[in-house]
């Protein structure tokens, strides 16, 4: 059954191409991409990696091939994926191969219809977002149907129904929910002629999402009493958003509400959930400022209430932290706490003008960021009932109160300066306070306070030959102690990259773990094709892209990545 639909699509495409061969060849365009990530693992006494911890799977690979056919207003495509077996750190449930994604889409004037798999986001994603991130092994695409309509200028409506991807497990009655959703957006300045030239621009939007899951009632034993909990089959969530634009000012706010949704994620409490995300920003050439605030209260929303992993998320809760790209600054990355968090972020980008005393010939770019995130306030619902007790309303929470403990705090500053046509420099300092107990589940471990200094220097020998050097140091008294890092990269643009680097955990309180995580890599790029080969040790940690993280185990071995698109 699960292979029937792709075969049908292929068949239909062939019939279509036979009947209208001329059109298919002349007007149709085929594009695509593929990627292969292979890793060969070696034993490493220091990291405790042996043949048995590797389960004998010394060679592993992830790969995909993506094909899109476009002909006028018609588009169709599919993605083939293979994990044979999945590389270390990816969910073992990925083992296997097949076509998890295929779609056909037709645009008729202002109506667009998609059948098969699709990715969608309502507003900021607080009630619905399906997306994929290959590097993280994340894919919660919805398989079903979606319609987008623009009935009148400035009005955009969307409706969808389907089930979400769960690794390779096909949908069967009751094994996950059916997600339905509608979204409407109104761009007032487009709708009303009188507002077309107004200086203030207003966009309003609203979404409604419902998940139907055939759930069995749950029984739990507490103090020798058997309790039977009735779980809701339909869980609805809705959200409203407002965007205002006035000159260089912008406001973007969204509030979301979810009715009670007892689940494994929230320890089966019956509290309603809510979330608020708001950003105010101002910018002009040379200066950009943004201030964001966020509150999340019991907002995990999955299409299977018993799911504890990272799969089957219906919504997306973005973290309010600065994305880090220097390796030691990624050791302690924040991940959103869906059961409750309250936080702020402030970010400033400024360029000291060219030819000024401080700016120099090319100007100097500065970035500042501050983030601070706490638990929300959680008070017992009644005396004697602990917070978050199964089967209760969980807790009472004052909307504006800041709870304990602190989850994360960071302050970053980055200076980016070009001295002349040969020499460039980036200097950065990052302070992080990281609740390793909550974020990584290291129960009882103290808060990690880390200070990180980074220098990134580039020297050009010729217009296309350059040497880049990174030196980083992380100071901390907690967790694994101090780290030092150095990197050398020789580039011949635009085709060749050669890199060697070492991360040295010399401050590890465990003397046996004062290890070098060395690595050597080279890459060759030709157009859109890239071949990269690396050898070395991989540090245990969290790999994060766009706010979602994946635990990466320590490893030692050879990695080959081949990627191309056309």
């Amino acid at each position: 059954m699960k292979n029937l639909i792709p075969v049908l699509i292929t068949g239909l495409t062939l019939i279509f191409s036979g009947a209208q061969a001329q059109n298919f060849v002349n007007n149709g365009k085929v594009t695509g991409s593929f990627q292969f990530d292979g890793q060969y693992y070696m034993e490493d006494d220091k990291l405790g990696i042996t043949d048995s911890t590797l389960d004998g799977k010394l060679f592993r690979m992830n790969g995909f091939g993506n094909i899109i056919y476009t002909n006028g207003n018609f588009r169709a495509g599919f993605r083939y994926e293979a994990y044979l077996p999945p590389i270390a750190g990816y969910n073992a449930k990925y083992e296997g191969h097949g076509i998890p994604y295929y779609f056909a889409e037709y645009q008729f004037k202002n109506i667009q219809i998609t059948v098969g798999n699709f990715y969608e986001q309502f507003g900021n994603g607080l009630v619905l977002r399906s997306y994929e991130e290959w590097t993280l092994g994340y894919d919660n695409s919805i398989r079903g149907a979606r319609v987008k309509i623009q009935p009148y200028k400035g009005i955009a409506l969307k409706g969808l129904i389907g089930t979400q991807r769960y690794y390779w497990e096909p949908y069967a009655n009751g094994n996950r929910g059916i997600v339905k959703g509608i979204d409407a957006e109104f761009y007032l300045n487009d709708m009303f002629n009188g507002m077309a030239d107004a200086k203030t621009k207003i966009i309003l939007g609203g979404s409604f999402v419902s998940n139907y899951e055939k759930v069995k009632d749950k029984t739990l034993v507490r103090d020798t009493v058997i309790y039977k909990y009735v779980l809701p089959s339909n869980v609805a969530a809705y959200a409203g958003r407002l965007q205002l634009i006035y000159g260089g000012f912008q406001f973007n706010g969204e509030y979301a509400y979810k009715i009670n949704n007892p689940s494994a994620m929230n320890n089966y409490i019956y509290k309603n959930g809510e979330s608020l995300l708001a950003t105010l920003s101002y910018s002009r050439k040379g200066l950009g400022i943004s201030l964001s605030g966020k509150r999340i209260d019991n907002m995990s929303y999955k299409s299977r209430s018993s799911e504890l992993g990272e799969a089957l998320d219906i919504n997306y809760l973005p973290p309010l932290t600065n994305p880090q790209f220097y390796s030691l600054a990624t050791i302690y990355p924040y991940a959103t706490q869906p059961n409750g968090e309250i936080g702020i972020q402030a970010k400033v980008n400024y360029t000291i003008p060219k030819r000024s005393k401080l700016g120099g010939k090319y100007g100097t770019r500065i970035e500042l960021n501050y983030s601070n995130i706490f638990n929300i306030d959680k008070q017992p619902v009644a005396e004697g009932i602990p917070v978050d007790s199964t089967g209760t309303l969980g807790y009472k929470s004052d909307f504006f109160a800041i709870g304990q403990p602190k989850y994360f705090e960071s302050f970053d500053v980055l200076l980016n300066k070009k001295f002349n046509s040969k020499f460039k420099m980036i200097l950065s300092y990052v302070y992080q306070a990281y609740n390793i107990d909550v974020i990584e589940g290291h129960t009882g471990e103290p808060m990690v306070y880390a200070n990180i200094a980074i220098a990134d220097l580039t020297y050009k020998f010729t217009p296309t030959k350059s040497l880049r050097m990174e030196v980083q140091h992380l100071f901390t008294e907690q967790d694994r102690g101090d780290w030092a890092m150095a990197l050398l990269e020789f580039n011949i643009a635009p085709k060749w990259f050669f890199t060697v680097f070492d991360e040295y955990n010399y401050g590890n309180p465990d003397k046996d773990m004062q290890l070098h995580y060395y690595s050597a890599a080279m890459a060759f790029v030709q157009g859109t094709s890239r071949i990269a080969l690396s050898y070395g040790r991989q540090r245990e940690g969290l790999l994060c892209v766009g706010g979602v993280c994946r635990a990466v185990p320590a490893a030692n071995g050879v990695t080959l990545t081949i990627s191309s698109s056309f």
Binding site: V30, I68, H97, I99, L277, G363, T528
Partner: protein, 175 residues
Amino acid sequence: MKKLSLIVLVLLIGFSVYSQDDEKRGRRLPSIDLRNANGEPFNTAEISNDGKPIILSFWALWCKPCIKELNAISDEYIDWQEETGVKLIAVSVDDARSTSKVKPFADGNDWDYEILLDVNGDFKRAMNVNMIPHTFILDGDGNVVWQHTSYSEGGELQIIENVRKIIAGQELDAH
């Protein structure tokens, strides 16, 4: 399952051979709903530059080489524009974490680019972008005629060189 893999393999090979021919003619951009820097609705069909070439660069706030590339081009951009009339459109693939910080970031870095927000990766997927930075060049008629992935210091020279060739009507680098 084996049969399925075989079909896929044959299709992949078939399509890639077919696309070789296709690439020479160039292809149009797909029509995808995005947002402009202000967050207002924008469709990629509206992308134009009065018959002059366009550089389309996919980037994100979390992508260091992307930002290095856009900073490097920014230092030369006035000269590039005066000489060739080229326009750079920087398509951010940042998600809701950073969507509303993209414009302040671009302005704060003194960039003169047109910014588009591809908040859920729809444009990225339609353009088969696996990794960023990924840069496309469109000729004056809006056809994709060249593309490249990754960036290292000096990589921007190849981009402007190809823009010059498009204007002069010369053959482009084989990527």
